[in-house]
Symmetry: C3
């Protein structure tokens, strides 16, 4: 049994100072601001005839406080798969295609500087009951086999009586040495007044001296809508990578003061540097600022702290250490 | 340290459709309907002179939703043992002998088609406080050493102030290449009106072309009683195993409408097929139907959903993938 | 990835009988009374140039009931470190220096006979909100490099808005083959009326035929104060170790009846034997008695059960099995 299991993980801790409008400033230790801290087990079994069985169990942890996700211990991923020439069938809890297509930003989709703040942070479900911004329970996925650089996935997840859990979506992309471009679309059943709909277009290109990272992401629920456009760059230097990114979130359709009304818009501007000590270990620093207008309450923390008022700005900087095992 | 640890587990997910009377039909993803999904660590140390120390930690997980058992993380088993020519002394949380003797049914005691629905499912404690249908906390067990095919165990578990936790029981059996037969008896202290008592007789026989699986299981609490008789078969075919089983649960002694009155009886009828892709990986399908009479509410789900009324039937079918690592 | 991870742990279970004054006697199964039951992962990566990255994740478990720490799964330790000629910088949840300096008692700081009952057991924070008797969240530590036998650490932990979490402390010690002596000091911000202050002096000496274990430990909060003096010995014999220890806790300054008033004093007297079956496996037995005066409620259980009254005594004995993997 043992030989087939790979034990893996990430431990990432940082010291950061954040300021969130009226909620004030705080110095904190954070976990996973370069790469989410986790541990897991995975394995592949060759069944012969090109067929493979595989599994992946992955658990989030917070290095700063020693906590794990008590409610969903293997909440990052718990899947079993059968794959072969036909592609892959995967069962369990996993990323949704609309989230997967949003990966690949310059900040690795996590931390105070990432466009992930808008992709899946506080308010990203537009106030609906959708739980599928990142992952879905009870998901059956089919992945295309490797065909040139084309990749694709469709996913259906059973709601099992929980409003906001039932999701249907897919993605289609193309990837070669320089280019990674994809589109994704997903619908979540959240009851009235309409389904929660989400689509995005990713276009990343490696120019050699730098990689361009862009995402156009749109979510709607009834009259509410957010269009987020992100652009960023990662620039390899001697012993690391400089990263910089910008997002503009353009919200509309919600009632005045809801944070989803016209003009409840936000922008992200972040710059950082990752200094590689090895392939697995790095020290990193990030500087980020989010500007909110109207009643918007986006925060570098992902979710705004209670004391932060609509339209107030958020900012932070940090220094951290990330180790992959 | 590391060399002595075996990391092991099971990931098993299925798609099933179940119908439970007035609670209606639902399509679900389920975890562990062929073999309970889990991960664990175990190890053995040779102490010399025939003496061995060993441990076993095993945690249940649900592949469909990524959850673990937050209340009892290593709730499947957490034991440390000393064993040798004298047998084995085992300390910790573990199966009760009355449960162990009920193992070895044709469906592996789990899933929508198993006799486990009656052995430990909803209502199997007859409405008492007994928590010992499957496992006991704070258990000291003694296991007989290997003596021909004879095996046996006695177990005492401390209640530590929790009503329904204090258990005393044992099992005695005989096993050779064809036969596996055993008897078990256990008493759980549940306060008034009497102890919860449980005994069962297992008789399994491998005829070569098929194995017969039978269990006669009786539980009593005060006037309440359930006598469950199960018969099943597992039939090896070219690349897998066909399984079929039947249980009749004959309940009596409880008040009218309680689900434990005379005539609150249930039957299980199930058939399935496990297609082996390797020793560790299989796809499986099961079809099961439970017929309830009077106020009985047994369900293929193990515990009946809230909307299901007494006397209504339950049925389900599923297709799943199980991988052992 | 896998090659760098060490999976480790301890499973330790015992049967004990305890008596706690009016709360009466109880026979229990206990976990970790010789060495706390746990599992964990750790690893070290050589970064070249004398630099190393390392991590340590450690989770407590209770063998008797199969539970883990649901609220802080890796609550025993979750850290990532960078170390080299300059020493070690460590980030995450970890022991506080004032706790670390109290380690090294004759009973391994845990169980019914240990001075840990006074170092971190019930009432050891003097009724303040301090959570830092053993560990601190959000801690940044710096450890001195190896310099002869001198060792030292400073630690600062961010409160992040939780009263009783903000800690600043350090330790300095000297260790050679016979001697291990150290001092530690720590301050925890608990709001009014003052900080919670804690310091201790450890002096352990191995005379060859026996090791002497002493600790002088003082905690204050406002007018409340406890001065605990511990002395113990561990005596190697043919196949194990005899251990004996005594603590006198001298409390003062609290209101009458609070358990912290003048004369609310306690003493511990314990003797035990650890019989080694291998380096990793041992059986052990301990006999312990705690005498309380005034309103003091110290217990061999660490925290007194509800029914135990002030000034009542506590005692216990146990036999257990400990296996390290």
């Amino acid at each position: 049994a043992q030989s087939s299991v790979t034990l893996f993980g990430v431990v990432d801790a940082s010291v950061r100072s954040v300021k969130n409008g009226s909620a004030g400033s705080e110095t904190q230790m954070a976990s996973g601001d370069n790469t989410t801290s986790r541990w897991g087990m995975r394995g592949v079994e060759d069944l012969g005839g090109g067929l493979r069985a595989s599994f992946h169990l992955e658990s989030q942890l917070n290095v700063d406080s020693g906590t794990a996700d008590a409610a969903k211990y293997f909440g990052r991923r718990s899947t079993v798969s059968l794959s072969g020439g036909f592609g892959e069938v995967r069962l369990g809890r996993d990323y949704t295609p609309t989230f997967t297509n949003g990966l690949g930003d310059e900040f690795g989709i996590v931390g105070i500087g990432s466009r992930g703040i808008f992709l899946y942070g506080g308010g990203s479900n537009l106030g609906s009951a959708a739980t599928t911004l990142v992952r879905a329970d009870n998901a059956v996925s089919y992945f295309l086999p490797t065909m040139g650089g084309v990749y694709g996935q469709v996913q259906i997840s059973a709601g099992e009586g929980v409003v906001g859990n039932r999701y249907t979506g897919g993605l289609l992309g193309y990837k070669n040495q320089a280019l990674d471009a994809g589109i994704a679309y997903g619908i979540t059943d959240v009851g009235t007044p309409s389904d929660f709909k989400h689509y995005n277009v990713k276009f990343n290109y490696n120019f050699g001296f730098a990689t361009l990272h862009t995402l156009y992401d749109v979510k709607t629920w009834g009259a509410r809508k957010t269009q987020d456009i992100s652009i960023g760059a990662s620039i390899p230097v001697a012993t690391g990578t400089i990263r910089a990114g910008y997002t503009r979130a353009n919200r509309s359709g919600g009632p005045l003061g809801s944070g989803y009304a016209d003009g409840d818009d936000s922008t992200r501007l972040a710059i950082g540097y990752v200094h590689d000590l090895s392939k697995r270990t790095a020290v990193y620093t990030t500087l980020s600022r989010i500007t909110n207008k109207g009643a918007a309450r986006s925060s570098v923390l992902g979710s705004a702290p209670a004391g932060m008022l609509g339209g107030e700005n958020s900012s932070g900087y940090q220094v951290g250490l990330r180790h992959i095992f």
